[in-house]
Amino acid sequence: MAIATEQGKGIGQAVHRKEDKKLLTGKGRYVDDLKLPGMQHMAIVRSTHAHADITGIDTSKAKGMPGVTAVLTGDDLEFAAGVPCASNPTGDMVHPVRPPLAKGRVRHAGEQVAVVLATDRYAAADAAAMVEVSYSPLPAVITPEQALADGAPKVHEELDSNVGLVLAHKTDNVDDAFAKADVVVKHTIRNQRLIHVPIETRGVVADWNTASDELTVHSSTQVPHFLRTFLAIVCGVSEAKVRAIAPDVGGGFGSKLNAYAEEFIAAAASQKIGAPVKWIEERSEAMLATCHGRAQDAHMELAATKDGKVLAMRAHYVQDYGSYLQMLTPLISQLTLLMSPGAYATPEVDVTVTNVYTNTVPTDALRGAGRPEATHAIERMMDILALELGMSRTEIRRRNFPQEFPFTTAIGLMYDSGDYEMTLDKLLELSDSKDEFEKRRAEADGRGKLLGRGLSTWVEVCGFVPSDVARSALGLTPGGWESSTVRMHPTGKVTVITGTSPHGQGHATSWSQIIETELGIPFDDVEVIHGDTAFAPYGLGTYGSRSLAVGGTAVHLAATQLRDKARLVAAQMLEASSDDLDFEGGTFSVKGSPDKSVTMQEVAFRAWQAFDMPEGVTPGLDETVFFDPPNCVFPFGAHGCEVEVDKETGKVEITSYIAVDDCGNVINPMIVDGQVHGGVAHGIGQALYEGAVYDANGQLLTGSLVEYVIPTAVEIPSIQTHRTVTPSPTNPLGVKGIGEAGTIASTPAVVGAVCNALGVRDLDMPLQPETVWRAMQEGGAA
């Protein structure tokens, strides 16, 4: 009996998302929606000093406030370890310990000092305001320059200085190449400190059952399994007794790719008081307590021939670590180093990264995580080189693209597949010719606007990561694989359990599409479970544009294994040889006798009944795969941006944005476009509006969404997305990642456009109106 499947929701289709209905109707379940009986609310008292010794904490007034259950400090809670850092690029980097609740010393304004637990969040807020902390301030270093100065006060006394790590990679003939070059251009490109601002802040509900010692933690996280493992380590509990759950998560962008002090504190507090503990981060708190991103300067030099061939690159990146190492802090600038050559075949490189501690909020992954920094720097330098040589910005890029793939860069990374001229040519086809543009530039001038356009040709490394590479090249503690279970039920439905942890990326939809294509099971008959460590074998979570390339491949492989087993059972049912069966539309049929067929649903039912099974075939249809990718993947593309700059005010308006991206094969083009839109908007935010600013005392001036400005729909232009498809040879789906590509590509395209409008070499982001106005005052000549 064949059941007709509704085809058309398989791989490659722009299928509407199955996640949407509950989210659209307000039935999502985010962490603050969770209420457990007896639940207490936690409010956190935070340091008001950038660097100080705590000389006393007086909790007496707070303890007496109505509704207060407990007031706890670093002395009240025991932890078996500090906040974890899973990245050690050299293997011998010293990791300073960060206690979840400060003990003795605070190292940035906003560090956790004490917590209040109360019956509701209003009472908790009132009591937190009554905790009196006395400090003995210490001299602080706020910028890497200050931290690197002779005699600078140390953020961590056990270290020799404020330098946390130096990485370097130098090929043999760099100095020769610089000596031989016709031209050398030199510039410092600043990549400013950013704050992620997902619209949902962080939050956690920790529920320690003191009778069974089982801990369940619901957290707005991108990495529930890492969280579980680290809860076990930090809170000293058996990992087999810990369950971590990511409910619906309202955006992460890397800010929730971490294990935070608050998660450990909430768990320990729950154990202490014997009740569930909820902590929901306030936005002003998020600005101070969630990791920041970027904060990297690039001192760059390119040596080139007069024909624009780049012979060598020197790059010295200075990365601000902030005051502590969070989970992947050292990895970020390491990724910058690895992608420093960008989309170019520069043969000689001398790259160093100096990583510096300061008394500021720690930095860690922020959409692109080290690769936007690398791309922005090299793309700006290519524009500067073009200007210096009087060459076109497209021509200079063409002359330096690698021609054959896979291509191994001077850093040693093997870019899996690519055709950078193809995406550049497509961008140029979609853009005005130089003459047309110049006509419009003249017209705009008459309206008091300076017109400019910029481009970026980008490549990035994502789909993290082969486990060998994770260990040997990156110094990461965990591997980089991903898991998936595909399980078919007796009544013909499928459950996919994935180790990815989506927070907007639509994996339930995309994985269901994979199942429809591989198994012929209708899209609507597939359920995808994610984010719960009780279900998934182990997942490394969602970040680094890895979920499809690694997690989706695991789903594909598990589905393929399941289909292979089903074929054996089908053959038995049809009394044929398994080689003699066709599989189409979810049905196995005997070659040449299409009426002799069984559906996948019938096979599943038989496998469940398990009678008359083929020799050696076990009951059920349930396959689990752990997939370790053989390489990262390297999406690439070309973005073009046009701006109008108000000559009087310096205000920048983006009038056109075209993205041409190649992320290999595409499972759901609608979702891919959405990721590009969001990524580009995020990059526009960095280019024109955002920047975390500290004052001289280490107080965060951009402490709310009033001062830290993220774009509204008015600021973001219409983003046109186009695609080419160069399959990745790295995984059977031929897919790459796309989640961060827009952010990586966009900042240099936007900044390049504004520089083109003004006729200047470079400008520091964010290009706020005043910045642009000042640049115009200082004279436009390049």
Binding site: H16, R17, E19, D20, K21, L23, L24, T25, G26, K27, G28, R29, Y30, D32, D33, K35, D120, R121, Y122, H196, V197, P198, I199, E200, T201, D248, V249, G250, G251, F253, I280, E282, R283, S284, H503, G504, Q505, G506, M670, I671, D673, G674, V676, H677, G678, G679, V680, A681, H682, S704, L705, V706, I710, T712, A713, V714, I716, S718, I719, G742
Partner: protein
């Protein structure tokens, strides 16, 4: 000192005692378990908390529950009838106008009112009309497409 407030929410009258300082968004989420309205900031910028108060879009984090005494409130849970999606919700679904979904209830509430007052808006008018609702996931592209589609009345 708690005050009794009576508020009609999604057509159902509720009377509850609240501190004067209780924010309307907290009354909705905590007292009435209507958790579809979200909190995204503390400075009235993000708009995730947008509900309709006496038929007008407002940021419920900036309204005290006591100020809504005697008023009618509609939350995201109240915009669709009989379990069907409101045309605006359907448009968001069809254009992929949401990703993580956190800003979405507030965005939909504002968008519906936008079209009520301007049934045939230009893209610029749509973007300006949504300036009080921040999104970090979508880059607004498909949100604008959703409102445009809802305005045209065409379903895909």
């Amino acid at each position: 000192m708690k005050r009794a407030v009576t508020i009609s929410v999604n057509g159902v009258s509720h009377t509850t005692g609240v501190e004067p300082r209780m924010l309307l968004v907290h009354l909705l989420r905590e007292h009435l378990n209507l958790t579809g309205t979200h909190v995204g900031c503390d400075t009235s910028n993000c708009g995730a908390c947008t509900v309709w108060l006496d038929g007008m879009a407002v940021k419920s984090c900036t309204v005290l529950a006591v100020q809504a005494n005697g008023s009618e409130v509609t939350t995201i849970e109240g915009v669709s009838a009989n379990g069907d999606l409101h045309p605006m919700q359907r448009a968001f679904h069809e254009t992929h106008g949401l990703q993580c979904g956190y800003c979405t209830p507030g965005m939909v509430m504002t968008a519906i009112k936008l079209l009520e007052s301007n049934p045939d808006p230009s893209d610029d008018e749509i973007r300006r009309g949504l300036e009080g609702n921040l999104c970090r996931c979508t880059g607004y592209e498909n949100i604008v497409a959703a409102v445009r589609q809802a305005a045209s009345g065409v379903t895909v």
